[in-house]
Amino acid sequence: MQTWLPRLRRELFATPLDGLISLLLIGVLSALGAAFVHWMLFQAQWAVIQANSTLFALGRYPIEQQWRLWLLTALLTAATGLSWGLLRGRRWPANDRIAAGLVVALALLAPLLLALQPLIQLRWWLLTALLLLSRWAAGHWGAGLPPLLRRGWPLIWPLLYLAGLLLISGGLGLAPVPPSDWGGLLLTLLEASFAILLCFPMGVLLALGRRSHLPLLRWGSVVYIEFIRGAPLITLLFLGQNILGFLLPGGLAPDRVWRAAWVLTFFAAAYVAEAVRSGLAALPAGQLEAARALGLAMPQALIHVVLPQALRVALPATVGQFITLLQDTTLLSLIGLLDLLGTARTVMANPEFLGKNAEVYLVLAVLFWCCCAALGLGSRALEHRLNPNRSLTTTPQA
């Protein structure tokens, strides 16, 4: 009472002009807010989301094969929980408690809002329990594991990714599901993760090439990077869909979904290269020279001395590119693929849900916003962890 009133006065009503602006803004904001809440509660018809939640999540993935995706989700959840636990040990810092609370709240709220079937609802609760349980178990007993297992644990992620691709596409005894049947959030996440994983090493190589002393490598990288950055993504996707078939011998060209994934990868690599280059440029030349003077070969010097420092500097810009890449997957809907936005368009073409644009787009916007904001938060936390100047006496807050 004593502190917030003067603060409010200082923040909002310091001068007459400020006061006027504040009153105006408060008026406009409350009117907009009231209209929005009224629309959300009374006018919007959320049945379009509830009736199509599976379609938004998976596209036309065959129902009898959906257990594979549930299995994949369970594996990912367990791996996340275990990694989380191994990272933190027995402590539950404030951030962890907030995250756990959010997960539980989501598990309780989402089925209610989406009007899920009881069976699916139950699966969500089991997944949540699995996450928290594995977090607790890994935190409790993780310290007792042999060091080799602890050190090698991150390798589970690439293995899991490959297993995930196998589970999604089929093969090795599983019934194949053609890429044209993948859709919705599944396709969006698959394309984004594929491109993010591959564009990063490509971008690093391109950035190194651009700063190389060898003219052919340098000019090759410059031409590639500037060519890609000069073209809008949609024209490159268009090129991928229409010309790739001509560039490869007949029948060798990949499926439309994979073509788009490769175009996204090649596109993002040029931008990641520029982000990494800024990191390389921030590094004093003495680092490389000192490493070479100590007798390290060029690749050794790059891997052990230059890149670890440069990539740390380039981290925020690189993650920024990953976020852009995630957003760019929406462009797949323009070349006829059924990503989240493409699925939304097919749903709204259904006469039953005609004109429900606002509801659908709002949900998609919230979904994308949460994913992108989470990536941004993660990047900031990682930046903090990797900061060599972080004081070691205070407890880490990341």
Partner: protein, 336 residues
């Protein structure tokens, strides 16, 4: 990279440790791989195109297009050749890019400067705006503006009416001087259920422009904020102690210094706006990409159409870069 004396090196070290030779070997291997790849792709391209009867040719550009373009600055009808259609599309792209540049710069500067306001609410609102817009895909925003906002506008008598401006389902109507010499003002007026005005903007153009401006402004705001923040606090304090008002300080002291940081950032945002304008097809505006897509569907000339598209956007990017480099030269400190 200082190597030992050349005579000594070649005499003592084996060839695979030779500091002179290795770079050339690496480059030769890289060049060879590149050459083989390009030869492989081009030979496939030529063979496949020959088989499809689509070998590179530009003669089809003279054939009549046979499709119409809903809104153009250049006069166009279906009987005109393809190159006229593509040109009309290019002009449409330039139109929305130019309008977008102006709008995004104004809005972005305002939001960027608002982040330094003494009003706490305005400051936070600027932050919220940037965080909200940057984390939602542009394409989603474009379809939102088109389908949810602009197409939902009421039409006829119920249209939103402001002095000199009417927002209706059929378009945006602006008042203007019907006789500029004698300053005869003509506002939008209703005839039956149809609005008439000297200036009409279609909802497609309006939605695309709004989306591009709102999206790009968030990024420009960050550039402007970074630029203003790069001017040290002492500059503000010194200006204030000299008796400058806050607005004067901003205009005379801070912005001229901040611009040196801002201009290069603006350059890349302008280029991405120009490239992003290719998403026009999502809200029904016929820009260059949209015309090119139709052209490809009708002629099957994939290679030529893609070359034209890539070339056009490259030229637009280079033009913007050249312009901004010129501006950059104006604002840089002149060293004496």
């Amino acid at each position: 990279m200082a190597a030992a004396g050349p005579a000594l090196t070649s005499a003592v070290t084996p060839w695979w440790r030779n500091r002179r030779l290795i770079p050339w070997l690496v480059q030769a291997a890289f060049g060879l791989a590149l050459l083989v790849l390009v030869a492989f792709l081009v030979s496939n391209l030529v063979r496949n195109l020959t088989n499809a009867g689509l070998l590179l040719s530009w003669r089809w550009l003279g054939n009549p297009a046979g499709f119409d373009i809903s809104e153009t600055l250049l006069p166009f009808d279906a009987g005109l050749p393809y190159w006229r259609a593509l040109l009309a599309g290019l002009v449409n792209t330039l139109r929305v890019v130019l309008a977008g540049l102006v709008g995004a710069t104004l809005l972005g500067t305002f939001v960027g400067v608002a982040a330094f306001s003494s009003n706490g609410l305005l400051r936070r609102l600027a932050r919220v705006y940037v965080e909200l817009i940057r984390n939602i895909p542009l394409l989603l925003q474009l379809v939102f503006w088109y389908f949810v906002v602009f197409l939902a506008l009421p039409g006829g008598r119920d249209a939103l009416q402001l002095p000199g401006l009417v927002l209706a389902k059929s378009g945006l109507y602006l008042g203007w001087f019907s006789d500029p010499l004698h300053l005869v003002w003509m506002g939008p007026h209703l005839e039956g259920t149809v609005w008439h005005a000297p200036l009409r903007i279609t909802v497609e153009f309006g939605a695309l422009l709004t989306g591009l401006v709102v999206y790009t402004a968030a990024f420009i705001a960050e550039v402007v904020r970074g630029g203003v923040a790069s001017v040290s606090n002492g500059q503000w304090e010194a200006a204030r102690s000299l008796g400058f008002t806050p607005l004067q300080t901003l205009r005379r002291i801070v912005l001229p210094q901040a611009l040196r940081v801002i201009i290069p950032g603006l350059n890349s945002q302008y280029i991405s706006l120009a490239k992003n304008s290719s998403l026009a097809v999502a809200c029904g505006y016929t820009d260059l990409y949209s015309v090119a897509e139709t052209t490809l569907n009708q002629t099957g000339r994939a290679v030529e159409v893609v070359l034209l598209l890539l070339g056009s956007y490259l030229v637009i990017d280079l033009l913007i870069s050249a312009l901004m480099n010129g501006v950059n030269r104006l604002v840089q400190i002149r060293e004496r």
